[in-house]
């Protein structure tokens, strides 16, 4: 069950080009939220739009939770101008979460899709689960370089300005060479083309793969039916309610790669 909490901004900082991390004091939601889940944010008190803005939780620390976002429009601009102590109305935790770490996790984030991957990384670490982490971005200054990360972390840039030159698929391939693929599982979140590429890769190589999708959301709680994704057609041809289309906010945001028709929503 999700709840609504009036949180308080405890801090904000720039972590990469046009990318920010804000922390919110939200004891109830922070105590419930699991890696992969998201919150739905009312960016300001006099918010002129009709939808909240969904954001993955990137981590928790005691009573605080954090989010990582790119400034792309009105909502994220408002977040960017949050001052310490501001009240922010949030609903959460929402959606499903990363689960089943029995196979070796390779966790892969691109762009701001890194947020739920960071959270996952920390969850795995505190549970002493060995894993690989790959962070992709287009260019060096989009990377959150100062984040203090342990070994088994690969960074890629499309333009080669930092880390491995190329995209995350290439990086996964590198790691995968030394691994038993049937005992490996991919956890992916990032821009649609990256997720689509990872999906194709996972299907081709027959690797288990969970992908966190993103789409526009009005309610975030399964009411409006606006956040639909399309499933790969099921055996049973009966086309009925929520057999053909899933709801990213409720049935997701995390779906199995083999269930997803397309990551472009």
């Amino acid at each position: 069950m999700s709840l609504r909490e009036i949180s308080r901004v405890t801090g904000s900082r720039k972590i990469a080009e046009n990318t920010f991390e804000s922390t919110l004091h939200a004891p109830q939601i922070a105590s419930l939220v699991k890696a992969g889940q998201f919150i739905n944010i009312l960016p300001s008190g006099d918010w002129p739009k009709v939808m909240r803005r969904p954001m993955s939780v990137s981590g928790t620390e005691g009573d605080n939770l954090s989010i990582i976002y790119k400034v792309v429009g009105t909502g994220t601009e408002q977040m960017y101008s949050w001052a310490e102590g501001d009240e922010v109305d949030i609903i959460g935790p929402l959606g499903n979460y990363w689960a089943d770490f029995s196979k070796t996790p390779i966790i892969i984030g691109g762009g701001v899709g890194i947020a739920p991957i960071f959270f996952l990384h920390n969850t795995l670490q505190s549970n002493n689960i060995e894993h690989y982490m790959i962070m992709g971005s287009r260019t060096a200054n989009e990377h959150f370089l100062e984040h203090d990360l342990p070994a088994k972390v690969l960074m890629t840039t499309d333009d080669g300005t930092y880390g491995i030159h190329g995209n995350v698929v290439a990086a996964v391939d590198t790691i995968a060479e030394n691994l038993d693929l049937s005992d490996t599982k991919l956890f992916v979140c990032g821009p649609a083309p990256m997720m689509e590429a990872m999906k194709d890769y996972a299907l081709a190589k027959n690797i288990e793969c969970d992908i966190a999708l993103e789409t526009v959301m009005a309610c975030g709680i399964g009411i409006c039916q606006g956040c639909s994704m399309e499933y790969v057609p099921k055996e049973s041809k009966e086309s009925s309610y929520r057999e053909k289309y899933g709801l990213v906010c409720m049935d997701g945001p995390i779906f199995k790669a083999k269930e997803i028709k397309t990551c472009y929503l």
């Binding site: 069950m1 609504r4 009411i223 289309y245």
Partner: protein, 302 residues
């Protein structure tokens, strides 16, 4: 102070929530005090389950949103099995919204609901969904069809019968009169306004179905105009809706002639908006010495 009657039914307040924006009441658990609302109108239920339209289905617009959900819903059988038990537990009044593609659809759905063991006190009939080819719009734009459907339904139920009207017509009052002549207890106005959005970057439409329904504060002036027009010609009460986001908005609708109101899109921002509003309305009544909020109904000074 907020108590209102519609037909024989008493509602704790005129504040209800609109179809498609509140699910079946269970989704908001923990986020809203459902039982404090005057009532809830369920998501449209159809004869058979519907998977809904292909995506994308929603997009934001200035002070509003477009949707083309396509009446995605569990269908009446599953509704009776899965949704009804929870709804029966509610202490607020439940109105079941019915949609259909043909007269048979509508009537069969109603028959099944009449037979089911539901505590719902009435039906709202969606003859105005602009988002599916057979969303009932052929009913909503025709006086004859509206009257005929209303009559058939009236014969089948003694529960409240509310026809939900479309603003996408030259004259909403003609359709409203047809519903009244058919025996409806009330009309609700308005459903969404037909609109469209284009993604310039991708050079494609923003909704897979091309056209969708516009809702939210952007349409409030349109909704008020329709409610007021209906108020001037109908003798049955009106449930007003379209863009309500505050207690002041509710007062606007009541002054325009609404007997009750529904809150739609704003639930997405604040699932408890209905309760927030009714608290404000109580305070308003006290401050303004109103014994009942409906003393204001249609009371526009000139």
């Amino acid at each position: 102070m907020l108590k209102v009657k519609l037909g024989d039914i008493t509602f704790a307040s005129p504040i209800t929530v609109a179809s498609g924006t509140y699910g079946y009441g269970n989704e908001v658990e923990g986020l809203a005090e459902v039982n404090r609302l005057g009532g809830i109108v369920t998501k449209s239920v159809t004869r058979h389950p519907r998977e809904g339209n292909p995506l994308p289905r929603i997009t934001e617009t200035p002070s509003g949103m477009l949707n083309s959900i396509g009446l995605a819903n569990v269908g009446v059988e599953m509704y009776c099995k899965e949704k009804l038990p929870f709804l029966n537990e509610l202490k607020t009044q439940v109105i079941v919204n019915i949609a259909g593609s043909s007269m048979g659809d509508y009537l069969e759905t109603m028959d099944m609901l009449e037979e089911a063991d539901g505590n719902h006190i009435g039906y709202e009939i969606n003859i105005s969904c602009p988002n599916v080819k057979e969303g009932g719009m052929e009913f909503g734009v025709s006086c004859e069809m509206t009257e005929k459907l209303t009559k058939e339904m009236r014969r089948r139920t003694s529960k409240l019968l509310i026809m939900k009207l479309s603003p996408n017509v030259t004259s909403i009052t003609e359709i409203g009169l047809a519903a009244q002549d058919g025996g409806a207890d009330a009309v609700s106005a308005i459903n969404t306004v037909v609109g469209m959005g284009i993604d310039v970057e991708k050079r494609c439409v923003k909704l897979h179905t091309v056209f969708g329904g516009l809702s939210g504060p952007a349409i409030k002036p349109i909704a008020l105009a329709n409610v007021h027009k209906l108020y001037k010609v109908l003798s049955i009460p009106i449930m007003g809706l379209g863009g309500i986001a505050s207690a002041e908005d509710v007062l606007e609708f009541i002054l325009a002639g609404a007997h009750m109101v529904q809150i739609g899109t704003t639930n997405y921002i604040n699932p408890n908006i209905g309760v927030d509003i009714l608290q404000e309305l109580e305070a308003y009544c006290t401050e303004n010495g109103l014994k009942n909020i409906l003393e204001l109904k249609g009371q526009l000074n000139s």
